[in-house]
């Protein structure tokens, strides 16, 4: 075997890595710089003033709370619907399964931005605009294809024999699902939930179109309307807000990536 690690590969990789980090450097420096602009520069008088300035209920807490409600709601609805749907698809053999799974896979291919204009029209007709629950249901529907696909794969990994033992002891199918199957696939369910949560947390276009009043807008939209549209932009505060808004998903990503890099790659494989 050749010695692992060639120097020119290291050099090329580090150069590419530096290019990927450069745009992010602006965020970090800018957030600490009271006089930040578009330029990347080491702050002359670094301080936490920008963070203090955005640390207000209206600017930070309410939008983040809305993001949390939106993402948690989407994650829970998706997870429950996906587990229920995955059970028959995983446990019964039927000619219904294959077309349904292909339909699901086709659903993951749908460009979600393409349906936002029709969805807006539909929400107007159904008088659902500006409704948080309706937006949660829509986001759940867009993440469901991927979630069902993943959940079924995880459920296929739980041996049927364990369940059958529970039935012999008199447990119903639902009881066996709750007591045997779900605990065994808990790490998998965690991956699905976190993945849906991250997607919903980072989504801008869906709440931008469907949630109109400021009191229900998540951080993704409020950050855009507070800073993006008003003439004189406080770039330092924008960077500070961006970092506070990004930290939760970065942390969740680390949790999942540590647990199982493969599951995430699988999840990523159908990211829409």
């Amino acid at each position: 075997m050749k010695r692992r690690g060639s120097t020119w590969a290291d050099v090329v990789l580090l150069l590419v890595g530096a290019c990927f980090l450069l745009p992010l450097l602006w965020l970090v420096f800018g957030s600490l710089d009271p006089a930040a602009g578009h330029a990347t520069r080491v702050p002359q008088q670094p301080g936490l003033g920008n963070f203090a300035a955005v640390f207000t209920p209206g600017l930070l807490f309410l939008p983040l709370w809305n993001s949390f409600l939106l993402s948690t709601g989407t994650g829970l609805v998706t997870l429950v619907a996906a587990v229920l749907a995955a059970y028959p698809l995983s446990r019964y053999r039927s000619r219904f399964n294959t077309p349904f799974m292909y339909g699901i896979l086709f659903g993951t291919c749908l460009p979600v931005t393409a349906i936002m204009v029709p969805v807006y029209g539909l929400f107007v007709q159904l008088r659902l605009l500006d409704s948080m629950p309706a937006t949660v249901l829509f986001l759940a529907a867009t993440s469901l294809p991927m979630a069902i696909w993943m959940t079924r794969n995880f459920m296929d990994g739980v041996p049927l024999a364990l369940e059958e033992a529970a039935w012999v002891d008199g447990a119903s199918r639902l009881a066996a699902l709750r007591a045997i199957v779900l605990p065994l696939m808990r790490p998998g369910l965690g991956v699905v939930f976190i993945f849906v949560f991250i997607q919903a947390w980072g989504n801008f276009f869906v709440p931008f179109v469907l949630l109109l009043s400021e009191s229900s807008q998540p951080a993704a939209v409020s950050i855009f309307s507070f800073f993006g549209q008003h003439g004189a932009v406080a770039y330092g505060q924008l960077a500070a807000f961006s970092i506070l808004y990004s930290v939760p998903v970065l942390a969740l990503y680390v949790v999942v990536a540590r647990g199982s890099g493969n599951a995430l790659a699988l999840a990523g494989a159908v990211r829409g």
Binding site: G17, A39, F106, C109, L137, L250
Partner: protein
């Protein structure tokens, strides 16, 4: 059939919120439904009028071309090739280096899209990081977002999305049997020959899948372009999602915007069907 009752909640959600809008799109694109005014609640049937307008509108072919350019440049060429190159290099580099660089590449991908878009906007703006770097090298300042908006959004999308291809190819390369490449090495094949004649043919299934998926993802990119250029200047970076949004919400013509969206849905559907076919061939 009772056994399949648990599928019902998911099926209802998918029918109402995914299949519903798609079917509604075909219908609404043949009406003059508006954002406000009397056509908002009581739209009239106009048949294929919106599509006739679409064909005559000079912005539509421009937008279609820009979308093809965006997908080909940032997904098929940029993300796909760079992702493969990174995955190949990571197998040769020191583990610590490849882990560090992998984190940097993935970071751009995990960030919320609006944050990534702000960072890319600042990077390419007139007094942004790119001009700072080029200034050091003695190059004159360029306003990238105005003079070459497509190049800026293509590069930004490569930055944003390469992690996905990199992860797919890292997994694929791990699945290439070591005996194959070692045997080729014994026979005197160089690194490039091994890549071209052994590795790439073995992972061709992953390449096809990845190409399909990055194409579909890139087709749907809206936020990045909207924040960086808002489709401008003079429609110079108006891809189809941006055009659909503008027609519907800026000009208040939901019917016409929906017609643009319908074209995008059909394109996505064609690629989706091709993707399914590909998967079925791979797993007979």
């Amino acid at each position: 059939m009772v056994r399949y009752l648990p599928v019902l909640p998911a099926a209802v959600l998918l029918l109402v919120f995914l299949a519903g809008p798609v079917l509604w799109a075909f219908h609404a694109s043949m009406t003059n439904v508006g954002l406000t005014g009397r056509h908002a609640r009581n739209p009239e049937w106009v048949g294929l009028e919106n599509y006739q307008r679409l064909v005559q509108d000079p912005v539509f072919p421009l937008s279609l071309g820009l979308t093809v350019l965006f997908v080909a440049g940032s997904a098929v060429l940029g993300q796909n090739v760079l992702g493969l190159a990174l995955a190949v290099l990571m197998r040769r580099a020191r583990p610590a280096v490849s882990a560090t660089v992998g984190t940097a590449v993935v970071a751009a991908w995990v960030l919320p899209e609006i944050v990534a878009a702000f960072a890319a906007y600042a990077f390419f703006s007139r007094d942004g990081t790119l001009n700072q770097l080029l200034g050091r090298l003695g190059q004159p300042e360029t306003d990238w977002l105005y003079t070459v908006p497509m190049a800026a959004v293509v590069l930004a999308n490569v930055w944003r999305g390469t992690a996905f291809s990199m992860l797919v190819y890292r997994a694929a390369l791990n699945g290439v049997p070591a005996e194959l490449t070692e045997a080729a090495q014994m026979d005197g094949a160089g690194a490039w020959q091994r890549l071209a004649y052994i590795t790439l043919p073995v992972i061709r299934g992953s390449i096809a899948t990845n190409l399909m998926l990055v194409t579909l993802q890139t087709l749907a990119v809206f936020t990045l372009i909207w924040v960086m250029t808002a489709g401008g200047p003079a429609n110079g970076s108006t891809t189809l999602p941006v055009l659909a949004y503008q027609e519907a919400f800026k000009f208040g013509d939901i019917g016409y915007g929906t017609a643009v969206a319908t074209v995008l849905i059909v394109i996505g559907g064609v690629f989706g069907a091709a993707y399914l076919r590909l998967l079925r061939e791979q797993r007979p």
